[in-house]
Amino acid sequence: MGSPTSPPPDPNQAAQEQFNIQRNWLLNLLPPSRTVCPICRGARDPDYPRCYACNQAYRRSGGILADAVAPISYSPDDGQHYHQLRVYKSPTSPNQLAHFRLAVLYTLFYNNHRPCLQLGAGGAFTHVATVPSTRARAGIHPLQQIIQVAHSALPLIAATANPAYGNAREFARDRFHVPPFTAGPSSPRVLLLEDLWVTGARAQSMAHALKETGAAAVVVVALGRQVNHGHPPSRPLLDTARHTPFDLNRCAIDDLSF
């Protein structure tokens, strides 16, 4: 709309508006508790120290995993955040509104939480990475676009997926191949961006591969932590999360002590 003489929209204002409107569905993570997994903040059985998937990754990896995991918001599988996390990456009909909103969410989250994310990594980040996609696509993945826009000065790690694993939701040490760190700092610290954390198997397999290749630290930021809204143990978690309006200043890492 608007006449040809009207000034172009202010990008900061557009970003702020597209962040604000997402507060209608974003949900802060709950702190770790008897029923909330200390790693991924999903529901857990109080008899185990972590949820099933995080426990499996822990055992199979020998504990060599991400140093910290920071999901930005729960993402119930019947909601708008979950929908956006799927359609933004369509190879045929990428949804630009969803892509922009997710980029805004990540950028503002990073700006607010850089000190605590760095604390999780033991220093400033030297590299950025995303979890390689198992499906072939033409051109740069929209998640890589988000991380490159936000961190244009940091090199993006070009890892590849081992095709033997397909889309399985299981941790594996050799699931991803990470090229050697060359001519960089002696202790690479990697910021690993994941779109949707379902079991964390892919993100943790990638964190493991990064560390085996020489990363000193890996911190995962996930745009959404998927929650199955029909899963009985997850319902109280969602009910509690919905009590509080979304606050960008709360971060999963703040709840942990290093």
């Binding site: 709309m1 557009a14 209608n24 799927r86 359609v87 700006n111 961190h151």
Partner: protein, 321 residues
């Protein structure tokens, strides 16, 4: 206004179906399977950019093949025959992977896998939904007419639901002003509800667009109207609520619009209702004092509707390093 023709790819040639038709047929075939969630079908198809893979996987997964007693090719042929029949009836059929599909519907989590249309498609980026009660006061009718007329005169598409009351007033005023109006209906495209609006539906199909997310002969049901409100919210850049009580489709639409991140515009006089005062506190809700205020607000909202790639790159300077 950028317009697009009806979304046909010509009559199907079974066996030699072209790729786009195969994809569209696969989406219809998926929807014909037992126990499927329509929005889930749409989301997985859009996410993958492919319906044939999901169709094959679903048939493998639950052994549906055995209960359906049909091969994927037979299901595709049957769906292609449905598509050919609908198109022969003059119905536009647009599946969520088609270029002719209204792209703004892919924004919302109740994205319909396929929509059926009669009339002229357009991008309708500048479209505002005007909704309200089926039992309006004379004042409500007058407000709806004024809003719709001003929107139409400003070249904004007036979207509504073809219900009695406010919807009818909004559609009619937009047509009278020579503007474009789109009816998102709660029945199949071959039906009219209420029956008294059949003629208005016909006129909108001739001069604007009628759109339905249901099978063409589907009757209205208790759930079809709120489902229609979700799609109406998705189609429009913003929703204006004119007169709506606590229990009303219009209030449902305001809630859904906020769930989608679509702005909601409330006239100040609506704040006599508790629900409207509560909504006014939420992000994305704009309270307006008069028609000028409303038009100015709506102009600004349609402007920010679709951020392009340059907007994404523009975020670079937001990052503090």
């Amino acid at each position: 206004m950028h317009t697009r023709g009806p979304g046909g790819a010509g009559p199907p040639t079974i066996g030699g179906m072209d790729e786009r038709l195969r994809q569209r047929a696969a989406i219809v075939a998926l929807l014909r399977l037992p126990k499927v969630s329509w929005p889930e079908i749409a989301a997985v198809v859009i996410e993958r950019g492919d319906a044939l893979g999901p169709l094959a996987e679903r048939l493998d997964d639950d052994g549906a093949l055995f209960t359906l007693d049909a091969s994927p090719e037979a299901l595709l042929d049957s769906a292609a025959a449905d598509l050919a029949r609908w198109m022969a009836e003059g119905i536009g059929v647009h599946a969520c992977l088609d270029d002719s599909y209204p792209e703004q519907l892919r924004d919302i989590h109740q994205v319909p896998p396929v929509v059926f249309t009669r009339g002229q498609l357009a991008t309708d980026r500048r479209a505002v939904a005007v909704v309200g009660t089926r039992q309006p006061t004379p004042q409500g009718i007058s407000t709806a007419e004024t809003i719709a007329r001003h929107l139409a005169e400003a070249g904004v598409t007036v979207v509504s639901g073809l219900a009695a009351g406010i919807d009818t007033a909004a559609h009619t005023a937009a047509l009278q002003a020579g503007g474009r109006t789109v009816a998102v209906i709660g029945t199949g495209i071959n039906r009219s509800y209420p029956a008294g609006n059949a003629e208005l539906q016909h006129r909108i199909a001739a001069e604007g667009l009628v759109l339905s997310q249901f099978w063409p002969d589907a009757p209205p049901t208790k759930t079809s109207f709120p489902m229609r409100n979700a799609v109406m919210s998705g189609y429009a850049a913003a929703t204006v609520v004119v007169e709506a009580a606590y229990r009303s489709g219009a209030r449902t639409q305001a809630r859904l619009a906020l769930e989608h991140g679509r702005p909601v515009v409330l006239p100040r006089q609506l704040l006599t209702h508790d629900w409207a005062r509560d909504y006014a506190q939420r992000p994305g809700v704009h309270v307006v004092d008069d028609v000028d205020d409303l038009l100015a607000t709506v102009e600004g909202l349609a402007e920010q509707m679709v951020p392009g790639p340059e907007a994404l790159r523009g975020l670079a300077h937001l990052t503090t390093t």
